[in-house]
């Protein structure tokens, strides 16, 4: 089968992430994005069940140190040739390696496609496959599901709308071709106008993809700020537990504390961090370094400031690091006297709220600010959201075909070819809205799996 790639480990933090490549050209693709340290070794010559240490690359750019595990079909999870590249966890490296794999000819794995292939190749039974699906479904939160079904409905409607337009265009062309003596001739302008409308709709869907992912998969969030500004109190306020150790003594939180919370429909993977300040304590300094690392790598930053104090060196460091990262600034301790330079904070942050974290009613304000920063509030309820890689890939394919069709008409390519392109676009949209079309295979059972499983 053709070669697919995906990240097998859960999104967000983790020491190690695994990029899994499977298919006829798995070894070929992997050997282009992975250079073994030992020049005498090559992925293509490696036996099954071997590991090679080296560097993951994208062209000339080195991405990360990594280990490649080689499996040769049929002795692999999918039953095909398979390479797993283990790299450092986090968001950056695994995604970059995945992109490199796509560039070298792999395509994004559909939901559950690895399991589907394992099933097709007789590696696991249907019951086993379904058990895996149940397990995965059980992990997702109620909030996610609710949000998802809502969004799915509007996505379906959007796809249907666009498909109806394309079908009109296709029917006009069909009629003119099949019944040249009877049907009206093809009107270029009309076809292009339908296609352009579809193109705009598809582009909008793609633009909203990151928001869709946030709704579906949750958002890694880092809470950072100087010691004792109330980070842990805010985290506890959000999560409703005493997860972080809260005490009035500055520097209580020395390590990164993680917690998964439901923020009114959106899952947040919260990391509390050590307070950011200059320190001579070696252990605390390490904590600060990690905190700043996390800030620069997060999807969303909640930066916390103390209203009763002027901005200190640690605060300023945070302001600098926050540059360009989607973030919310919380000016805490509104119950105390206002000494902070609010103007400077507002210069750097789009979302700034002033609260008192010991007042439980301020949770609502924080949630609203977080939703704004993720972009959920800006979405109209009928926007339609893409929430999976499979859907994104359908939209991209559809958009590609629509663009090609428009170009073809403008270039004067004849309608026999244009007709085929519009057909391709309709097919991708049918797949997007989950209809059973010729190309769509085995999605029924397997769409419940995560990409990596």
């Amino acid at each position: 089968m053709d070669t697919i790639a995906g990240i097998a480990t859960p999104p967000g933090e983790g020491g190690i992430a695994i990029i899994r490549i499977s298919g006829d050209d798995a070894l070929e693709v992997a050997s282009k994005i992975f250079i073994p340290k030992n020049k005498n070794r090559a992925i293509k010559n490696a036996k099954g069940y071997t590991a090679i240490f080296g560097t993951a690359v994208d062209g000339d750019t080195e991405l990360d140190e990594a280990v490649a595990l080689i499996f040769r079909g049929p002795r692999s999870y999918t039953g095909e040739d398979e390479v797993e590249i283990q790299c450092h966890g986090g968001n950056m490296a695994p995604k970059a390696i995945l992109r490199a794999a796509y560039r070298e000819g792999a395509r994004p794995a559909d939901r559950g496609e690895y399991t589907k292939r394992a099933f097709l190749n007789g590696r696991i039974s249907l019951t086993e496959a379904e058990a895996v699906a149940e397990m995965i479904s059980a992990q997702s939160s109620q909030g996610e599901r609710a949000a998802l079904s809502l969004m799915k409905g509007s996505l379906y409607r959007k796809a249907e709308e666009m498909k109806a337009g394309l079908i009109t265009a296709e029917a006009n062309i069909s009629a003119a071709i099949e019944f040249p003596d009877e049907a009206p001739d093809i009107d270029d302008a009309e076809i292009i106008s339908i296609l352009s409308e579809t193109r705009d709709g598809l582009e909008k869907l793609l633009k909203n993809y990151s928001t869709g992912l946030a709704v579906m998969r949750g958002v890694p969030v880092v809470i950072a700020g100087s010691p004792n500004v109330g980070k842990s109190t805010i985290m506890n306020l959000l999560s409703g537990t005493d997860r972080a150790i809260v005490s009035p003594t500055a520097g209580t939180t020395r390590d990164v504390i993680e917690s998964t919370i439901d923020c009114d429909g959106i899952t947040l993977f919260l990391s509390d961090t050590a307070g950011i300040r200059d320190t001579d304590d070696a252990a605390e300094a390490e904590g600060v370094r990690r905190a700043l690392d996390k800030v620069s790598d997060t999807a969303l930053l909640i930066a916390v400031f103390d209203q009763s104090k002027k901005l200190d060196e640690g605060d300023r460091k945070l302001l600098e690091t926050a540059e360009g990262i989607p973030s919310v600034a919380i000016i805490n301790k509104s119950d105390l006297e206002n000494r902070i330079e609010t103007g400077e904070i507002k210069k750097r942050f789009a979302e700034v709220i002033t609260i008192s974290a010991i007042d439980e009613s301020s949770r609502e304000e924080i949630v609203k600010a977080v939703h704004n920063a993720i972009g959920v509030n800006g979405l109209s309820p009928d926007a339609g959201l893409l929430v999976s890689e499979r859907q994104r890939s359908c939209v991209e394919r559809g958009l590609g075909a629509v663009n090609e069709a428009i170009e073809a008409i403008e270039y004067g390519i004849t309608y026999d070819a244009v007709h085929v392109l519009i057909g391709e676009a309709i097919e991708s949209l049918a797949e997007l809205s989950g209809e059973n079309v010729t190309e769509e295979v085995l999605d029924d059972v397997f769409s419940r799996f995560c990409v990596g499983k």
């Binding site: 053709d2 589907k116 099933f119 097709l120 190749n121 007789g122 249907l126 069909s174 003119a176 071709i177 099949e178 019944f179 040249p180 003596d181 009877e182 093809i186 403008e410 270039y411 004067g412 390519i413 004849t414 309608y415 026999d416 070819a417 007709h419 085929v420 057909g423 059973n436 010729t438 769509e440 295979v441 085995l442 999605d443 029924d444 059972v445």
Partner: protein
């Protein structure tokens, strides 16, 4: 029924219409003895509807038939009175040849072709019964007392099987053109368990030329340079002198129709059977498109030695008085005199799911179907099925492998796959949109797609095959030449480019490079291609291949991908109900269609992707065991 005379033959063909002709000729040419039974020897190859061969997608079928050694293309060329290539502006994949024929000459041509065929006997009689022994065809019996023992039988009964004609309230159990219907055979088929259903179709009136006032009607002549269907026929010898006319209905016409709708057997509910969606009667058009103020139609001659004119687009089943009243509201037809009234006809046919892709029955060995009997509409659709059924019957008699064309090879393969996989809800008409590979399945490459096969089967003569090979070599040479030969920049060239809206050429380019420009066709740059051969037909074909090579490469990749599933064969005797995990609905459908491959199984409605995955796992696990059992 008493038997007076027994005969023996390899293959019996019931019917000598467009399906029966190709079936009989193919079987006989492949060395089988063959008896073709027809209700009337004067009606062999009759065109009861439009006197024309070809049209969109149908033209493709005729070219494909010709490349496999069929007869229809030759007959059309020989009896042509007008020829047009349709869809010239819409791209080479949908260029479609359409020929008006002299229908009397066409019948005479086909009768002679069959009479001259060695091994083929024509008998005028009515087949009334098919006998079967041990699940295999044994003989065909006739109304006058023949019993013809045979090893295979092809049913190509067209609209004559149980035919019933409706003209308004008037009804008559009859086939078209005054030939009696065949009423006995259906009972025999029902007894044999053949799933029989009833379809309907219709035709417009034939009117006298003298009664039409052609003044002011738009003339539609043939193309300036006619093209033959048959590879090897000389274009200069084609008769392209026929003239057709275009005309329109008007609101008064529509008013007459609306006022009398209750007298239509269709709208009045007398006819319940299903007609072809893509061939609506004029009352259908008026009802379905109430906003249209007029409908176009064509006035076409039925031949050179007759004054009968065919009104293409005005088919109706309204009563005679309404036919007169309605036609006479139309400009030019104010005094029209009807010679053959328009009618609707109901007939018996089978559910094609009963057939395998060879067109052989899945329940009775040696019994085949072709043409309207299998639920299609159209002469060309019938002819290609006749050819495939004839070839397969002959191969079965000779103990050879079945002949099945994949969808990616041809419209013929697509048509038969659609019939036997999806079944039909209304008479099936071929359309280019039915093929997912339509950019590859063009008229201009029909020979390159199918001549090798035609020769392998044994229907394409060595001479004809040698001609094809020579053309193929020329084609390959031309393609390569156009990639090499360069055209220099010149003011003349840039004048052409500018005129076509293409960008200015600034450096020497190959012919192929220039062809890749939008708007540029080979005819535009022909004058600059100095090394082109005198004879340009092949050059034009090569230019198409070059201009579309990007799209074609993509389609070829899709075919490769699909081939994996097409190559996964399902055993004939697979007991679907025994496969665990398969839904009952899917098992029932699969059992009914009995697909030969996983690819075909995936196209059955009611079989979903999960079922395919279950099947594929079953195949994977049982391949070994299955092979073992059968070795």
């Amino acid at each position: 029924m008493k038997i007076y005379k027994e005969l023996n033959t390899d293959i019996v063909v019931i019917g000598a219409g467009h399906a029966g002709i190709e079936a009989g000729l193919a079987a006989a040419r492949l060395g089988c003895s063959c008896v073709v039974i027809t209700l009337s020897l004067d009606c062999i190859g009759n065109m009861p509807c439009n006197p024309c061969i070809g049209g969109t997608a149908k033209g493709h079928l005729v070219f494909e038939l010709d490349a496999l050694g069929g007869e229809m293309g030759k007959a059309a060329d020989a009896t042509m009175i007008q020829c047009r290539m349709l869809n010239m502006s819409k791209g080479p994949a949908v260029h479609s040849l359409r020929m008006q024929s002299d229908r009397a000459a066409y019948r005479a041509y086909m009768k002679k072709a069959m009479e001259d065929q060695k091994g083929l006997d024509l008998i005028q009689d009515e087949a009334t019964e098919i006998t079967v022994e041990d699940g295999k065809v044994r003989s065909v019996r006739t109304a006058l007392g023949f019993e013809i023992f045979c090893r295979a039988c092809i049913i190509a009964t067209g609209t004559y099987l149980g035919g019933k004609i409706y003209v308004g309230e008037a009804q008559k159990e009859n086939g078209p053109d005054g030939i009696a219907a065949a009423n006995a055979l259906t009972d025999s088929l029902v007894e044999l368990g053949v799933p029989i259903r009833r379809f309907k179709t219709g035709t417009p009136a034939r009117v006298h030329r003298d009664s039409i006032d052609f003044t002011g009607l738009e003339v539609q002549p043939g193309d300036p340079s006619p093209v033959p269907f048959h590879f090897g026929d000389n274009p200069d010898e084609l008769n392209n002198t026929g003239i057709c006319w275009m005309d329109y209905t008007n609101e008064e016409t529509h008013e007459v129709i609306r006022r009398n709708l209750d007298r239509s057997p269709l709208y009045g509910g007398v006819i319940q059977s299903i007609g072809p969606r893509y061939c609506p009667s004029i009352e259908d058009k008026v009802v379905r498109f109430p906003e249209r103020k007029r409908h176009q139609f064509f006035i076409e001659p039925c031949g050179e030695n007759t004054e009968e004119m065919y009104l293409q687009g005005l088919s109706t089943s309204l009563p005679l008085d309404v036919q007169y009243e309605m036609y006479r509201t139309i400009k030019g037809l104010e005094n029209v005199r009807i010679m053959r009234p328009a009618y609707a006809i109901e007939y018996d046919c089978c559910d094609p799911l009963w057939l395998a892709a060879t067109l052989e029955s899945k329940t009775i060995r040696g019994l085949y179907g072709a043409g309207q009997f299998c639920g299609t509409s159209g002469y060309e659709e019938a002819a290609v099925q006749g050819l495939v059924a004839g070839i397969n019957a002959a191969r079965e008699v000779k103990g050879e492998d079945p002949f099945i064309l994949p969808r990616s090879s041809s419209y013929i393969g697509t048509l038969i796959d659609d019939l036997v996989t999806k079944g039909v809800q209304d008479p099936y008409r071929m359309m280019t949109a039915r093929s997912e590979y339509r950019l590859l399945l063009r008229q201009d490459n029909a020979d390159r797609r199918l001549c090798d096969l035609g020769h392998d089967i044994g229907l394409l003569s060595d001479d004809r095959y040698a001609m094809y090979q020579e053309n193929k070599a020329r084609f390959e040479y031309e393609t390569e030449r156009m990639r090499q030969d360069r055209i220099k920049v010149s003011p003349e060239l840039n004048a052409v480019m500018a005129e076509k809206g293409a960008p200015e050429v600034t450096h020497t380019m190959t012919v192929a490079d220039l062809l890749k420009w939008p708007h540029i066709e080979y005819s535009d740059i022909e004058q600059f291609d100095r090394n082109a051969p005198e004879q340009k037909d092949i050059t034009y074909k090569a230019a198409v291949e070059i201009k579309y090579e990007g799209y074609l490469a993509r389609l070829n990749a899709q075919i490769e991908k699909a081939k994996r599933l097409e190559d996964m064969e399902l055993p004939d005797d697979l007991d679907y109900s025994s496969i665990t995990g398969l839904r009952i609905e899917a098992a029932v459908k699969l059992d009914q269609v009995r697909p030969r491959s996983l690819g075909q199984a995936g196209r059955i409605s009611g079989v979903n992707p999960t079922d395919i995955s279950v099947l594929s796992v079953w195949l994977f696990r049982n391949k070994r065991a299955y092979r073992h059992d059968n070795s």
